[in-house]
Symmetry: C2
Subunit: 359 residues, 2 copies
C-alpha cells in the first residue's frame, strides 16, 4: 500500500466496508470475507477493507486506515465496548469520506416491525453520501423498497438485500440475473422456519409450548418468538417479494396475516387426519398497484411440494408468464447462509463495477 491507502497494484480495486450491526451475522460475514478473499481478488480484482463497525449497545469503531477486526470481534464476544461512542450514522458518514473505489455499507441490524427503522435511515444516509447499501435486514426492502431503489438509481449506487428472504439462497438474484424478460405474476411459499418447525412438531404430538421451548433451547426460535409466531416475519418477506418482483410498493402492515398459536396445534392435527398439512403460507397475486399479499394458515395436500418440506426447509414457488411455475427450495439454513447473502450482494456490486470500469 502506498501512503494514501491505494493498493500497489493499479488493477486492484479497493472496497471500503462499514458494518452496521455486529451480531452473529455480521461477525460470520467477516470470516466469510476472509475465507473468500482469493475469490474476490481473482474474479473481480477486489480487495476489501473494514473501516467501521457500529453496534447498538457496544459502541463503535471507525478509521479510514482500516480497523482491527479481530480485536473488535474479540471485544464484542466478550461483551466489551468497541472503543468509540460514535453512532451508526457517524460510522456511515466516515465511510462516505473514504477515497476507495467502492464504499459499501453492510447492514445487519434486526427488523423493527413497526416501521423498518432505523435501518431505512441508515440506507438513506449511506446512499446520500455515495455508498452502496447491502442489507440482511428485511426492513428497508419491505417498508421502503421503492423509495430506496429510486434513491439508489439517482445516486448511481446499488441497494441490495438478497438475505431478506431465504437467507443466501438466490431469490432476487435468480429473477434479476437469470430470468430476463420473465414477469412474475404471483408467488406462494413457506418462508418462516420457526413456524414451520412448530407446525411439524405439533403434528408429531408435541404441544405448541413444548415445541417452542425446545426450539428456543436449540437456538432456532428467538427468546421473544412473536415476530415469527404472529406471522410478521413471513409478512415482511411477502412484502419484500411483492415490492421487488411485482412492483407492489407495500409494507408488511398491508399483508393479510394469521398467527400460529397454541390453538393452531389442534387445527394442524385435524388437518393431518384428513391427509393434509397445515402450513403458514405466504403468497401474493396481482400486479403493480393491485397486489394482494397474504400470510395464511393453509391446508395443503400431503403430497404437494410445500407440504413435504422438512421442518428446517423453506420454499418459494414463483408463478411466471414464460416459465410457468418455478420453485426454489432452501433445504436447511444456518448462519453461513445468511452471511453468504451479504457476500453475494457484495459480489453483485463488484461485478457491476467491473462492467463499468471497462469505460
Amino acid at each position: 500500500m502506498d501512503l494514501d491507502g491505494t493498493p500497489a497494484n493499479p488493477n486492484i480495486l479497493r472496497a471500503d466496508l462499514a458494518l452496521i450491526g455486529f451480531g452473529h451475522v455480521g461477525r460470520r460475514f467477516l470470516t466469510l470475507l476472509e475465507d473468500r478473499r482469493d475469490h474476490l481478488l481473482r474474479e473481480f480484482q477486489l480487495e476489501c477493507r473494514i473501516v467501521g463497525i457500529a453496534t447498538a449497545s457496544h459502541g463503535a469503531v471507525a478509521s479510514l486506515e482500516g480497523i482491527d477486526t479481530r480485536l473488535a470481534t474479540a471485544r464484542r464476544i466478550a461483551g466489551q465496548q468497541l472503543g468509540s461512542e460514535a453512532t451508526s450514522i457517524d460510522v456511515i458518514r466516515c465511510l462516505g469520506r473514504s477515497n476507495a473505489a467502492l464504499r459499501v455499507m453492510v447492514e445487519a441490524t434486526t427488523l423493527c416491525i413497526t416501521d423498518g427503522q432505523p435501518a431505512i435511515a441508515y440506507a438513506e444516509a449511506a446512499l446520500d453520501c455515495g455508498c452502496h447499501v447491502i442489507s440482511a435486514n428485511k426492513g428497508p426492502v419491505s417498508f421502503a423498497y421503492r423509495r430506496l431503489s429510486d434513491l439508489a438509481r439517482r445516486s448511481q449506487r446499488s441497494f441490495l438485500f438478497e438475505g431478506a428472504v431465504m437467507d443466501g439462497v438466490p431469490i432476487f438474484n435468480l429473477v434479476r440475473e437469470a430470468m430476463p424478460a420473465v414477469t412474475v405474476t404471483g408467488f406462494r411459499g413457506i418462508l418462516n422456519t420457526t413456524t414451520q418447525h412448530i407446525l411439524s412438531a405439533v403434528e408429531q404430538g408435541e404441544s405448541f409450548a413444548e415445541a417452542l421451548a425446545r426450539m428456543q433451547a436449540e437456538g432456532i426460535a428467538e427468546s421473544d418468538p412473536s415476530l415469527d409466531t404472529e406471522g410478521w416475519d413471513a409478512a415482511a418477506k411477502a412484502a419484500a417479494l411483492a415490492n421487488v418482483l411485482m412492483d407492489a410498493d407495500m409494507t408488511p402492515h398491508a399483508v393479510e396475516r394469521e398467527a400460529v398459536t397454541p390453538a393452531t396445534a389442534d387445527a394442524a392435527r385435524t388437518a393431518l387426519k384428513k391427509g393434509h398439512k397445515l402450513r403458514l403460507v405466504a403468497s401474493a397475486e396481482g400486479r403493480d398497484g393491485n397486489v394482494r399479499a397474504r400470510v395464511r394458515l393453509t391446508e395443503i395436500a400431503a403430497d404437494a411440494l410445500l407440504a413435504t418440506l422438512p421442518c428446517s426447509a423453506n420454499a418459494l414457488i414463483l408463478s411466471t408468464d414464460l416459465l410457468g411455475e418455478v420453485a426454489i427450495c432452501q433445504m436447511g439454513g444456518d448462519l453461513t447462509q445468511t452471511a453468504y447473502a451479504l457476500f453475494s450482494d457484495l459480489a453483485t456490486i463488484a461485478r457491476r463495477r467491473a462492467a463499468s470500469m471497462l469505460s
Copy 2:
C-alpha cells in the same frame, strides 16, 4: 436502415442470428423473439435479424439482407423446401460474414447420443468464424463442453446452453450468475419427463405399454422413446451438469445408466407397497477429474421432495459448500420454456456485450 444494414440509431446494436434446426423449438423461438422485441431493445438496445435458417430435410435459406421468416415458417409447416440447397455449415459461414455487432448461431437440432454430432461441428464452425453459440441441444455440452468452452474463451465468444437441462428454468445461469463463489459438490435430480410420467402412471395401475402409448398420443413421448426410457436423455443431462458445475470433462457414455422397462412397473408397485416411490434419479458426486455420475432407478421415501413431484415436473437438488442443499423445480414444461432457454442465452450475450461496449 441505411444501405449497409446498420440501424439508423447509432445506440442500437444489431444482432444477426442463424437458426440451425427449424422444428417446433426453433419456430417457437422466432415468435418469442418477436413478442419480446421491445424488451431486447429497452434492456440491451438490441435489435435482432434472422439471416439464415437451415433444416435437416427441408433445405435452407440465407441472406445477409435478412430473410422472410414468416415465409420460411409457412413453408416448413407445409412440408415444403425453404428454397436453397445450402448446408448448415454454409449457413453458419454466411452468418460469419455478417458485419453485425453480434453474430449468433442458434442451434436447435436433435441430440445424437452416439457422439453429439453434427451439433458439435456446428458449434466449432460458428466459433471459428467469430459467432456466438446458443444451443438447445444437449450434445455439445454433454460431449464436448471443455473443448467448446476453451474455444469460445480463445475466440472471445460465448457458448451457452441453458436449454440442455430443465428447458428454460435457469440452472447454469443460476449457478454462474446468482451463486458467486459457491462450489457445487454434487447433485441429484429428476431430469427426464417421459420416464417420470411412466413411473407415475404404472403406480396408478397402468402397464408400461399403456402409459407409453398414452404419452405418445399426447405428444409427451417421442415415437421412438428409447432415448428417454433407456436413460440416455437423463445421462446426457447428468454429463452436462457434471461438466459445467463440477468440471468433470465426461460424456454421457461415462454415466452409469439404468433403463425404465416393462419390468420396472412391477418394481415401482413393489416400492409403493413399502411406502416408497421408484424414480429415475440422475446424480453426481466428486470434483474435477473424479466425478462419478449415475442415472439410477432409486427408491425414495414418499414424503421426500423428489418423490412428490407431479408427473410433469423436474427437479434438481444441488449440494453446495456455502448454501447446503438448494433445490430448483420446474413444475411443468412446454415448448415456450424450451424456446425461452434460447432467449435467455441471447439475453446473456447481449448483457455481456453491453458491459464490454462501455470500453
